[in-house]
């Protein structure tokens, strides 16, 4: 029997290794898997690379993980936002490495990793500082940059509904990076607000099919992200 449901947050993140690349869902404060991040903090893995759109705000979730000092590097598009004080302090002190990636390229690079694409040419960032050192090519009169897949060891994802095969739905714009990150990681761990029986999600309304998901844990009252 295929059963991806695990009994606890601790079990969901138990074997995350030091040095892992962790994809963390969410945009702004929507879709951030707060409880999974807390579980990762408790679990203690260090020397992490975190891939996520924003670098946290306030003192909870992503910011709290950064504050542990266990994140060596962050890959994101927009680290500097309202309340990103923890990141800014670490960055100013030279205690965290930053790889800045345009938002669409960030998402497309993870999609490439998930879809088995070895690299792709994008017009985004052509002729800019963020293309420096990258291979470029003129295609039909336009300049493109070669971008490489961005793969995670682990993805931490927040979903609305899940079943034991790992089929997922999301809530409104909390969907954001989650479906792509679920594809792009070797181990995809999901916190879902509600578990349903197989067949409880209409086959045509599954957003992330279970084949992309490894573990599901129920978190029925998720905390808001970005709290001070």
């Amino acid at each position: 029997m295929l059963n991806k449901i695990v009994p606890s947050l601790a079990a969901a993140v138990a074997d995350i290794q030091d040095g892992s690349t962790i994809l963390v869902g969410g945009f702004g404060n929507a879709g951030i898997p707060v409880e999974l991040i807390d579980a990762l903090i408790d679990q203690g893995a260090k020397d992490l690379t975190v891939v996520t759109n924003n670098a946290g705000s306030g003192r909870t979730d992503v910011a709290k993980l950064l504050a542990t000092g266990r994140v060596r590097k962050i890959v994101c598009s927009y680290p500097r936002s309202a309340g990103s004080v923890v990141f800014e302090e670490l960055f100013a002190a030279g205690k965290i490495e930053l790889e800045l990636v345009p938002q669409g390229t960030l998402s497309e690079r993870m999609r490439a990793a998930g879809a088995g694409i070895g690299g792709f040419f994008t017009p985004t960032a052509a002729g800019t500082r963020l293309a420096e050192g990258k291979e470029t090519r003129r295609i039909e009169g336009r300049e493109y940059v070669l971008e490489k897949p961005l793969k995670g060891d682990v993805a931490l994802i927040k979903a609305e509904t899940a079943d034991r095969w790992g089929n997922l739905t999301f809530r409104l714009a909390a969907r954001n990076f989650a479906p792509t990150m679920a594809m792009a990681a070797a181990l995809t761990v999901v916190q879902a607000r509600k578990l349903v029986d197989l067949g409880g999600i209409d086959p045509e309304q599954v957003v992330t099919p279970g084949v992309f998901v490894d573990r599901v844990v129920e978190v029925s009252n998720p905390a808001p992200a970005g709290q001070a």
Binding site: V101, P102, T124, A125, A126, R175, A178, P224
Partner: protein, 222 residues
């Protein structure tokens, strides 16, 4: 003659007059977001947000905010009937694939050939942040810029070549400032409109690139 630069809201109001009926439009953070408030009521414009929304409506009433329904500026929004939700990769496929008719963006500098600089000043003290700026600038079918004509110090923001790091090369189609409306054409910058009382020589002085005045130029309507 004396002239009065447009207030920020007046720039947004001027742009709103040009947003076509039925267009799919992405509004950048800040001033561009305000354009939606001034689009004439008889036009139906479909707003796109790069975090996975088409058909955004206005801000919700106080107390009706949903933390899972925010725009790219992380402000609470609503959905219009006909809205759709999708994931980030699809949201940027729409942008990069040229499906978004118009991106309205703020700018720090614009170059005479349409180069855009709106993400970094090159100041290394602060961590850089780019968000979706480069994707929008490179991908949207049309790019209009909204900005003050000069910096607070009076330095021109329209230049032959940008001195700040570029967001994208040769992408801006039109510039709306507090002084003028300027098209980026193959023959250079063409002034379409100026605020009442401003003369062309004065505008040229405040501009770091050569301007031409359109034969049919007019005053920016009040």
């Amino acid at each position: 003659m004396t002239y009065k630069p447009l207030a920020r809201e007046a720039i947004a109001r001027r742009v709103a007059l040009d947003v076509p009926d039925g267009a799919f439009v992405n509004l950048g953070i800040g001033l561009p977001t305000q354009v939606a408030n001034y689009v004439p009521a008889d036009r139906e414009v479909i707003y796109h947000s790069e975090n996975g929304i088409l058909g955004m409506g206005p801000a919700p009433a106080k107390g009706q905010e949903d933390p899972d329904l925010i725009n790219a500026g992380k402000q609470p929004v609503t959905l219009m009937p006909g809205a759709s939700i999708f994931h980030h990769t699809d949201a940027f496929a729409m942008i990069r694939g040229g499906h978004i008719d118009l991106a309205l963006l703020g700018a720090m500098q614009v170059g005479a050939t349409g180069d855009l600089a709106n993400w970094a000043t090159g100041d290394e003290k602060f961590p850089p942040a780019v968000g979706g700026a480069m994707d929008l600038a490179a991908g949207a079918a049309g790019v209009w810029v909204l900005m003050e004509h000069t910096t607070k110090e009076g330095e021109p923001k329209i230049l032959e070549r940008c001195t700040y790091p570029l967001t994208a090369e040769r992408v801006v189609d039109r510039i709306y400032t507090n002084l003028a409306v300027i098209d980026v054409t193959d023959e250079g910058l063409l002034v379409r409109e100026m605020v009442p009382g401003l003369d062309f020589e004065e505008l040229q002085k405040k501009t770091g690139a050569r301007l031409r005045l359109a034969n049919d130029w007019r005053q920016i309507p009040a």
